[in-house]
Symmetry: C2
Amino acid sequence: MSTRTTLKDVAREAGVHISTASRALNPSTASIVNPETVERVAEAARRLGYRPHPLARGLRTNRTMSVGVIIPDVENPLFGPIIAGAESVLVEEGYSVLIGNADMGPSHADSLVEDMLERHVDGLILATPGRVVSEVARQAQRDASMVLVNRSVDDDSIPAIVGDDHAGIGLAVRHLRELGHERIGHVAGPSWVSTGKDRRDAFLDWMTTVGLDADIDLVEEAEWYQVEPGTTAALTLLRRHPHITAIVAANDLLGLGCYRAVRSLGKVIGVDVSITGYNDIPLLDLMQPPMTAVRVPYRQMGADAASTLLALIAGAVVSPGRVLLSPTLAIRSSTAPPAVSGR
Amino acid sequence: MSTRTTLKDVAREAGVHISTASRALNPSTASIVNPETVERVAEAARRLGYRPHPLARGLRTNRTMSVGVIIPDVENPLFGPIIAGAESVLVEEGYSVLIGNADMGPSHADSLVEDMLERHVDGLILATPGRVVSEVARQAQRDASMVLVNRSVDDDSIPAIVGDDHAGIGLAVRHLRELGHERIGHVAGPSWVSTGKDRRDAFLDWMTTVGLDADIDLVEEAEWYQVEPGTTAALTLLRRHPHITAIVAANDLLGLGCYRAVRSLGKVIGVDVSITGYNDIPLLDLMQPPMTAVRVPYRQMGADAASTLLALIAGAVVSPGRVLLSPTLAIRSSTAPPAVSGR
DNA sequence: GTACCTCCCGCAATCGTTTGTATTATCGGA
DNA sequence: TCCGATAATACAAACGATTGCGGGAGGTAC
């Protein structure tokens, strides 16, 4: 009783050979066995509560029904929804999710990839940052399917599910433009991260589109996607261009950094300077003032990544390149028409 | 080249039988094989880049070198650190971490437990809420080691690593008392969750300890650990006791709910009403005003849970019951001496 | 009546390890 | 010289599934 019921038990119970039982239980081979035998085996399996042993199966079939998800930092609220989204579609198909967080730097990410390959995951979802993937990751494509999420590689050689940064920045810039802003700055993310580069390019692009001059001087790059670097960047930006009335931040935390910078200059947010964030992490609506932010459908991003991964695993030919998910804009009170100049 | 190097290859390379190779590579059996043979095998293994196949090994040994972590909600910022802490010690020992999030309710948690058992995880870390564990979870103890984190069961029958809620609430109550508050209320979490009950009991206990009357009327239970229920609870509490000058919230989100309630009554936080949170989630210091909160060492909680789990797996007899981790208090500006009455 | 085909099913090998047992070689002691 | 103990290694059976192959039963066509 303490030992699990095995295929042999089912076979004995149904009065057939173990191989017949195997075929009967496997949907793709059930057709070559007598329908009523199938029924008898299925019934026996049900009665005995049979569960195939995943290790034994994996050993034979080289498929483990598990996929690895590698993220840069579990503690970043961004990745919760991504994981949840991916997991929801993967468990649906019977896959298990191995999570690895590479919070100790890119080399750690590589060793995680190797660990996972060693465990024979069927697929890999990479959410680690960077605009290029390491050699080991590239090699990994040989042994397992792979898709990127929330990042892409410069040459688009690996399928990637990303938010439409161009559209997202567009939402922010147009929103500010419609409010009447004309001097808009951008606190950018690190340029070695794909989102950092893309959003910055998009910002300059949209500035000209809405009829403002796309001065590279209006962009200041933060060292990292955190509050503190955001403050620093915003301060140098505001010192260089004191007449700026709005800032598009490449990230919510950078936006919060801008909050601090603006306050430290004695100005008031949403009046003297409007600020937009990006991602719309939780609690943003509880800030003072609540922050207007571009909302990215991260959960769906995870789900889509999982779906295309499953397609890849199933052998479908998925064209590499990016799938863009449309963002929306959550308008709150950190943005408002510019204060009347000269007042 | 495309096929991985197997033990057979190593054996051939070293000129020994496969079983000898196996023993040579396994530290616990290496003693029964000639030392220089061990060296030769090890050398061959190194040269060929041999990695044992985890599935094959698991099939034979019934150990998968993987543990499952089940959390109620990946998107809750609480669990990031717990996972990170657990993972950091587990990967160190060569274990992989399977994550399951039970965001679809307790029955889903059960099915996750079953999934993981089916995959033969060596251990299980449960962070799901509730003061009792389901029958399936209890059964699971037979097949795998198990420890609870951030929760406990009423009868303490399963080892649990939890924050010291009594001490934590004590920090908050004493802090407020020292500031001069005498009418302190408590917005409690759901009583069916262990932290909800524990913190509420602790609150009443500490009130008498610091010489205030522990009126059950000063406690209002929120339906769930979220902002909205917090607002509702705080409002009914403040309506019942308008003279309250401080609120101890059982959770940061409930605390933020209190923020809203207090504001909607036209009072100002940190002046008319002081508020303390619990957990100290990120961004709390960026709120207006920054919230004073009890900080729980979640990362260490995860790490400790993993350590005791490893001990259990190794066959150590771990006394069930709770291990308490000491919280600290992050004092910010949501707490201050009560406004002078009558002013 | 034989040949042939189809349909089911059983046999056995296989995936890569671990591990109980058998075998061989070596050596000390009587 | 021979025996028993000991050490080192080889053999083979597992673990629990999947799967190519072969074979028996039954039917049809000639």
